[in-house]
Amino acid sequence: MSQPFDEISAQLRRRHRKSARLKWISMGALGLAGLFLVLFFADMLVKGLPAFQQARIQVEVDYSERASQLPLAAVQENVRPLVSRGYLRLIPGRMDDNPELLGTTRMEWVLADGQVDQYLKGHHSKLRDSEQAVVDRLAAQGRAELRFNTTFFTRGDSKMPELAGIAAAAMGTVLTLLVTLAVSFPIGVMTAVYLEEFAPDNRVTQLIEININNLAAIPSILFGLLGLAIFINFFGVPRSTPVVGGLTLALMTLPVIIISTRTALRSVPDSIRHAAFGVGCSRWQVVRDHVLPLAMPGIMTGSIIGLAQAMGETAPLIIVGMVAFIPDVGGSFTEAATVLPAQIFTWAGEPDRAFIEKTSGGILVLLAVLITLNATAVVMRKKFERRW
């Protein structure tokens, strides 16, 4: 006699309850993670989006003889503290470039001081009451408004928040990552090819394997120390430069590329290797003509993710001096530079409250680039993934 269904169902009830409970718990965990993500993004957007706008005011600029000596004299005294000092400093230069300006007086939209910007955005500002009254009057006349902040995307760092931009750091990141890619991609891929396709399976290669896997888990600041000790102190690579930053990050990215390349190589079926050996390919021909092309999408994905990781890295770059104050957008591998996360780090430490939105704005830019990179990785994998 076997058990009737009802009896079995009764016994099963507890098991079903348990799996239902687990399902709810895991959905809860997912929901919580999603909530944190939404909160984080919302916070960043609320704090960071204002950074993409900057206050400008319309004032009378007097290109007088005196102004070419003393730029402050170019604007009337009551609006003087409201105009960005960085803008005023440019006036003598502009007068030299355009002599016809001399002696004229024009109404111009000029970059406002960072405090005016904060005041217009409704944040706390250090403006005095009288200055606030002037700003209010200008705003009422339509002579003070928030406009898109091109400065943020075209200039380097500045101590004046209204002039601080992300461009120098972005350029530094590009140069640094180029160095990282140029160093870690070929070395990483060839190392993986050797380990996976050529190396005999013995104690030595096993030891190397274990060490590579451990390398991927080492705190990144240690790579910074390594970079400092080897690249700067031993090889004399100039500090704070994209070269040394890129080399240091390459050390960090190597294990990621090696591990992902090995996984990609291992996923190529052995039947392909046998087919190639069977027609008389040498080992290198097997790898070059058959295994590597099949493994390429996986290798690319791993490398892009490794690079994205390197791009978000700050700690090792602090050690090699890439947290520098870089006001000019550079273009050289051997000049001092900074990178996006280091720029964010620098701004986060500024006492002026106007830098809070710069910090968040920088994070938004960094996130946008990271998401783009990761999306590229996904698209490439989908595009080149071939089922054979």
Partner: protein, 288 residues
């Protein structure tokens, strides 16, 4: 068809190996009348170990040119391992140790001077599962000849691809889609593509490791017909689990058991009148 003279003495490798000049113990003693008698591959006292386990024990075997030789036997008897000795595919497996002679064209294939790439250029291989390259049909065939510098001009390559595909009986089916991926073909077509790929470099010997075990009966029959045709040009050695297949396609059959060649003979003689009890039991389906 059974009027072939059957040898008196039974063939057993267990009587010990003999010096190189004398006929091999494992050699068949009767032959097809029309068969070729020149040796393609001479194997003497071949032993192979996977680590500690001995997989081949003192194999003696003569493979004759332009014949189909079938290797049969139960699973794990060493027939595939033996096949891979002939083009040194066992080199790819770590921990394999080989001693003994595998002689082809007067050279020991295992000698230090022998380049395994050169060997595989002359000893092609077709695998159990069709494994075309993840390239176009055309490229699958053209790749190896180009790599070995047999052809370089585009028209020569075109010609060679067509000839190889015709020889493999695939041309008519694929001539309009040469640039589609090889894997878009059916299993049987893929296997014929693999055969075309193997014969494209004009090897002397083609090794086939259970070439039809992944195929349906119709594709199997096509491949068997093909083997019959190809033996005009090539020496074919095939491993098969299918006794009927061995009886249908092979001129000679070697029965492997536990790493030894128990019996090696003319196929018709082997199937009509096996000399050993083991072979008889296996052939009649009592085990295996």
């Amino acid at each position: 068809m059974m009027n072939i003279q059957v040898a008196e003495r039974s063939v057993s490798p267990m009587t010990g190996h003999q010096s190189k000049g004398e006929p091999a113990v494992g050699a068949p003693v009767t032959r097809n009348e029309e068969a070729h008698h020149e040796l393609a591959i001479r194997v003497r006292d071949l032993n192979l170990w996977y680590g500690q386990a001995q997989a081949l024990k003192s194999i003696n075997l003569d493979v004759y040119q332009k014949n189909v030789t079938a290797l049969i036997g139960p699973s794990g008897c060493g027939k595939s391992t033996f096949l891979r000795c002939l083009n040194r595919m066992n080199d790819l497996i770590p921990g394999v140790r080989i001693d003994g002679l595998v002689e082809m064209d007067g050279r020991d294939v295992n000698e230090a001077k022998m380049d395994e790439v050169a060997l595989r250029r002359r000893v092609g291989m077709v695998f159990q599962k069709p494994n075309p390259f993840p390239k176009s049909i055309y490229e699958n065939v053209a790749y190896a000849p180009r790599m070995h510098d047999l052809v370089s001009r585009k028209t020569d390559v075109d010609e060679l691809v067509e000839r190889a595909l015709r020889d493999a009986g695939l041309w008519e089916e694929v001539k309009d889609k040469l640039h589609q991926p090889g894997t878009s073909l059916s299993g049987g077509q893929q296997q014929r593509l693999c055969i075309a790929r193997a014969i494209a470099v004009q090897p002397d010997v083609i090794l086939m490791d259970e070439p039809t075990s992944a195929l349906d009966p119709i594709s199997t029959a096509t491949i068997e017909d093909l083997m019959d045709k190809l033996k005009q040009q090539f020496t074919i050695i095939t491993v098969t689990h299918n006794m009927q297949q061995a009886a249908r396609v092979a001129d000679y059959t070697a029965f492997f058991h536990l790493g030894e060649v128990v019996e090696y003979n003319d196929t018709q003689a082997m199937f009509s009148n096996p000399h050993t009890k083991k072979a008889e039991d296996y052939i009649t389906g009592r085990y295996g």
